[in-house]
């Protein structure tokens, strides 16, 4: 057996390799045991709203698949823009930081006003629900049907509450105005709760919003039109689909809540991303999700699993819609 001699160069080389291994070990172990700490989720709206309710219902089941908890952080402001800017600008792209947004209104923002980051630098990978927008009146309103609204809107400009200008439901009502000749003036009321309150208290003639939030508002309001398929019937007062009621061919004006991630995180940590996708899909297969969703006063008919491709298509459609209606949404 030949005796191996260790010279200075070999000693240094071995030392460096050993140090590198030692330093890299925790990282390697962490990668193999992802996740080893709680997930942080950026939510670009206020606590207590529809996104909060939806997030808690979904994450309460997802956490059992992933083995760690989800910690929400609420970053409202500027129609959701603040949350995205903070997520893209400050959150580490390590797959531990996710964003839970509404692909409808929040993506419309980018068409109306470009953000400071490249919109290609993040993508949605897990759609939780799709929820059509709707038009509704307060229970005590003198306008009790869409026919009343159209007739009145031909006589005078009606004020329409909306949670934000760039919202699919806002586009829905503007499209209806274009098709019928009725005149509508959108009034942004900052959030779903205020939009419901605006219609109930008569601050505006009627409001438009995602239908899930309108269902949650109970019998204080009455839905008169849905900007898509009415999958829930009586819960939305059997209101008609806009296309059926007015013989139109508009795309569905949907809100769609989904989890998003930095592109860099998915590219640099494919194993982590894969685990997120796998557990996300497993959550949808668990009957506990439906229970949790119903318990949170969600609308089970709107639960709708979608992956990267479905989300990308949705985003593309929204950007096209936003570009088409940009002058009306920006007051330009």
């Amino acid at each position: 057996m030949t005796k191996m001699k260790m010279n200075r160069r070999m000693l240094l080389g071995t030392g460096i390799a050993a140090s590198a291994m030692t330093l890299a070990t925790p990282g390697l172990l962490r990668a193999s045991s992802f996740p080893d700490r709680n997930m942080k989720v950026y939510i670009p709206t206020r606590e207590g709203g529809g996104a909060d309710r939806n997030f808690r219902a979904f994450s309460s089941v997802w956490k059992t698949k992933l083995g760690v908890d989800f910690e929400p952080g609420f970053y409202p402001g500027a129609s959701g823009r603040v949350g995205y800017e903070i997520y893209m600008g400050k959150a580490e792209p390590d797959a531990y930081n996710l964003i839970f947004g509404n692909m409808g209104p929040e993506v419309l923002n980018w068409a109306v006003q470009a953000p400071s980051f490249d919109v290609e630098d993040y993508f949605y990978f897990g759609r939780v629900d799709t929820d059509p927008g709707c038009a509704f009146v307060g229970a005590e309103s003198s306008l009790q049907s869409i026919e009343d609204i159209i007739a009145e809107g031909k006589k005078r400009t009606l004020t329409v509450g909306t949670s934000r200008m760039a919202h699919p439901a806002s586009i829905g009502i503007l499209a209806l105005g274009e098709a019928t000749g009725a005149s509508f003036n959108l009034i942004p009321l900052s959030g779903g709760k205020n939009t419901v309150a605006g219609a109930v208290t008569g601050e505006v003639d009627f409001s438009v919003l995602t239908s899930g939030s309108v269902i949650a508002a109970g019998d204080s309001v009455k839905t008169v039109l849905v900007f898509g398929e009415n999958k829930v019937g009586e819960a939305l007062d059997n209101a008609q689909n806009i296309n059926d009621a007015f013989d139109l061919d508009l795309p569905e004006m949907l809100s769609s809540r989904a989890f998003g991630i930095h592109k860099a995180a998915a590219d640099n940590h494919p194993d982590r991303f894969e685990k997120l996708v796998e557990t996300f899909n497993a959550t949808f297969e668990d009957p506990a999700l439906m229970e949790s969703y119903v318990a949170a006063n969600g609308t089970p008919e709107y639960l709708n699993n979608g992956g990267v491709e479905e989300c990308a298509q949705f985003v593309k459609d929204m950007l096209e819609l936003g570009n088409r209606y940009k002058p009306l949404l920006t007051g330009a």
Binding site: R46, E47, G48, G49, D52, R53, R56, G73, Y75, P76, G77, A78, S79, R81, V82, E85, I86, G89, N109, Q113, S116, A139, T157, T159, R164, M165, A166, N185, I187, P188, L189, S190, K193, N194, V196, A197, V200, T201, G202, E203, V204, A216, A217, G218, D219, S220, A295, A296, N297, T330, G331
Partner: protein, 504 residues
């Protein structure tokens, strides 16, 4: 009627039996309310897993007690060390802190506790009895009317400016300009954010609040090395039950004042979107307007402390009315309650009192019982709490700065907010040293964005027609009341001076 009375009695007795939940929650609420940056809303969020695990009644009682106690707790540091725990307590230090500096901190705390508890209790009873009527307030108070309500609060700047018109108006105008920073409410276009993302949602209130009041106060303490006068120091070092009873007596003798200022809070509280900060400034302004001694406000005047404290506790019961009757939460805490209650399968709105009356009445009863128990448990503590001011300033000033900077960080978890609080501290310090009133700046920062929101909304509704401001009957009545409340003190002052001149 008989059925409702019997139901109310049953719910009351049941709620009392939950004293073991209410009393610890009161202390928790006092702590979270007293720490700037914490509030009932974010505490309920943090404790949400616990709240969801509780049964419906226990969860409901826990949340309501926490809400009431946090509101009261926010006044404690405002009085003792000039740090309002929340924006709702921003008007409390105007007269509370001068009382402390005079060595009457113990009395000030007792006054605050009595005014808060009685104001809260009274408005809870009124809300319970007049819920259907109160729920209608939101149907009449729209953007135009709210513009006038905001102006009632903002007109306080003019009162402050009365001491030095130019400096007061400059301070108020600076506050309004600072309040205009952020994205506009219609098209979300950023204005004056200087590229800081953290300012997109406007100037955050807590850093502005603690910076202008507390950090600048700490700088003054470092400079002067004292908080209390020599006499005050002596009084605070030897606290006595007599001082507590004196405070209780002072507050009770002003029961009518507590009554009407808490009703201001109740009425503002039932308007969705309005809140305790508006109510406390409006109540303070009204209290000063109708006072026979308006010149004493800001110098440690008892009525100047009673008004904001009873008003902000009146808001607490007010916010529950639209939540329960219309299903619309009146404020952030009510919104969180809505989420928790929906988890328990409770549907709010007009049908609540038909389907689950015990839940609706139960929330008000929990509030009433909490206020009752607060009177018994908190007032005796004023004797011990007031000793905070006797801590040597060498320790107190750094404690105030570190404590408030953490408070500035907590609501949004941005380091930026800590730097912002320091920046506001420097602005506040310079303002104080040069005779500008920090309260005038703060009123602008707090009420300015709200005024702008209602103003832009009204203009958007009218498609730019300014005459919309005078388009509603109630709005016009409020305009007249505003003009009267601005002119009346000047007229009374003129008459008083004339009388004095004649008699001399």
């Amino acid at each position: 009627m008989g059925e409702t009375a019997s139901l109310l009695a049953t719910v009351f007795l049941e709620t009392i039996s939950f004293w073991w939940v209410i009393i610890p929650t009161i202390f928790l609420g006092l702590i979270v309310g007293g720490i700037p940056g914490f509030s009932a809303a974010n505490t309920i969020i943090i404790l949400m897993p616990l709240t969801l695990a509780m049964d419906l009644q226990t969860g409901l009682i826990f949340m309501v007690s926490l809400y009431c106690a946090a509101r009261m707790g926010a006044g404690i540091p405002a009085i003792l060390v000039n740090i309002p725990g929340t924006a709702g307590a921003a008007a409390t230090p105007l007269d509370g802190y001068p009382m402390t500096k005079q060595g009457r901190g113990q009395q000030a705390l007792a006054i605050s506790f009595v005014a808060s508890s009685l104001g809260g209790l009274l408005t809870t009873m009124i809300a319970l009895a007049a819920m259907p009527i109160l729920a209608r307030v939101g149907f009449y108070m729209h953007s135009v009317e709210m513009i006038v309500v905001m102006l009632f609060g903002i007109s306080l700047i003019a009162s402050i400016a009365a001491q030095d018109m130019l400096k007061g108006l400059i301070a108020g105008f600076s506050g309004l300009m600072l309040g205009a920073i952020g994205t506009d409410v219609v098209y979300a276009t950023p204005r004056g954010t200087m590229g800081f993302l953290e300012l997109y949602d406007g100037v955050p209130l807590i850093p502005a609040l603690v910076g202008l009041f507390a950090v600048s106060e700490a700088f003054i303490i470092i400079e002067k090395r004292v908080i209390l006068t020599k006499q005050g120091q002596k009084a605070m070092e030897n606290p006595s039950w007599a001082a507590t009873f004196e405070g209780v007596k002072d507050a009770l003798s002003r029961w009518t004042h507590i009554g009407w200022t808490s009703v201001i809070g109740l009425v503002i509280g039932v308007i969705p979107g309005a809140g305790a900060s508006i109510a406390s400034f409006v109540a303070y302004q009204q209290s000063r307007t109708f006072s026979k001694t308006p010149e004493k406000y800001g110098t440690g005047h008892i009525e100047g402390l009673v008004a904001p404290e009873s008003a902000n506790n009146g808001v607490t019961s007010g916010t529950l009315v639209p939540l329960l009757v219309l299903g619309i939460p009146g404020g952030a805490t009510a919104a969180i309650m809505l989420v928790v209650m929906q988890y328990h399968g409770v549907s709010f709105g007009p049908s609540l009192f038909q389907q689950e009356p015990e839940v609706g009445y139960g929330m008000f009863m929990a509030m009433a019982v909490s206020y009752l128990l607060m009177i018994l448990t908190i007032i005796p503590l004023s004797r011990y709490m007031s000793r905070v001011t006797t801590v040597p300033t060498i320790y107190l000033a750094p404690m105030i700065i570190s404590f408030t900077l953490v408070g500035a960080f907590v609501p949004r978890e941005y380091m930026f907010d800590m730097y912002l609080a320091l920046a506001f501290g420097v602005i506040g310090y310079i303002a104080r040293r040069t005779g500008y009133h920090v309260a005038a700046i703060l009123i602008g920062v707090i009420l300015g964005p709200l005024l702008e929101t209602y103003f832009l909304r009204a203009l958007k509704k009218s498609e730019g027609d300014m005459m919309v401001l005078f388009s509603s009957t109630l709005g016009n009545i409020l305009w007249v009341a505003l003009v009267v409340s601005l002119v009346l003190p000047a007229v009374l002052d003129w008459r008083r001076k004339k009388r004095e001149l004649l008699s001399s």
